[in-house]
Assembly symmetry: C2
Homo-oligomer: 147 residues x 2
DNA sequence: ATAACTGCAAAAGTTTTGCAATCGG
DNA sequence: CCGATTGCAAAACTTTTGCAGTTAT
């Protein structure tokens, strides 16, 4: 089990309580915006500044410890790098589901073959209507959505 | 051919020169951010305010005339509703390619069947490395990317 | 010791809002 | 004419930057 301290030291960075708190929050929250992460951290250590959260997320991402995903609306969300999955975001209710990346294996293969494009399936979310909303809104046009 | 004036009137909105200019710009530019659209509009009518561009894009989207797509980094991009396609964004060089939505037909079918999720293939972009960048950066990790 | 790191305040960038003036139907 | 629409200025957010003080090694 790779400790954060070690990962940092390997690249010449220092271990700080703030960094551990941010990483803990990211892992605990699943996918969360910088603001949500900051809130979670501040519940444990109120003095931690949001600036530090931004900087730490940036660093952790460069280290490959976390990654961010664009769920469709404005704010990017961060999650621990571990469990790779594709996100499904409902643009009606905002619900986020996760499905195995295998789902896109065929597509990835075709993109690679036909366009030379190497898909990173985890970076963006697929948008659509979740089962609940799809039913309710069957007639309604899907134009009044996010942002 | 459905005129903008008519589409507006059908829903009780008014036709204005600004609205035509914004729509023209969106169609002309392909996919563009509000700021780019504003720039294009202002080249023809310098007095048009960016506020109006935002409001107009919002309106046109509610009317189903344009739609916006999240290309992965911060800014949403708008494009005319017509030609449906899936976007491929290179998170290295930012290049945006378009591929037929058929690419995702199988995936859409599976999502529908297995999760009840109705995919809107055109709303988000698939992220990855384009053929140029994939070659160059074969060793490099893909972590220092967008935003 | 000393370079990395943090917090604070301020800046920068983007999108939204309030309002008086203007314009379309 | 009357209400929708616009431009402007200001507000509201989100993210970044500069810097002096603090901390990890």
């Amino acid at each position: 089990m790779e400790t954060l301290r070690r990962t940092l030291h390997e690249r010449g960075f220092r271990m700080t309580p703030q960094r551990q708190l941010v990483l803990d929050a990211v892992q605990r929250l699943g996918h969360a915006t910088p603001e949500q992460i900051c809130g979670a951290v501040q519940r444990q250590a109120p003095a931690v500044n949001i600036t530090t959260v931004y900087r730490t997320l940036d660093l952790l991402e460069r280290l490959g410890v976390v990654r961010h995903t664009h769920l469709g609306h404005g704010a990017p969300t961060y999650s621990a790098h571990e469990h790779e999955h594709v996100h499904l975001v409902c643009h009606r209710c905002g619900e986020v589901a996760e499905v195995p990346t295998e789902l896109l294996d065929d597509v990835a293969r075709r993109l690679r073959a036909e366009y030379g494009f190497r898909l990173d399936a985890t970076h963006v979310a697929l948008s659509g209507a979740c089962s609940n909303c799809a039913d309710e809104a069957d007639a309604t046009d899907a134009t009044e959505e996010d942002r």
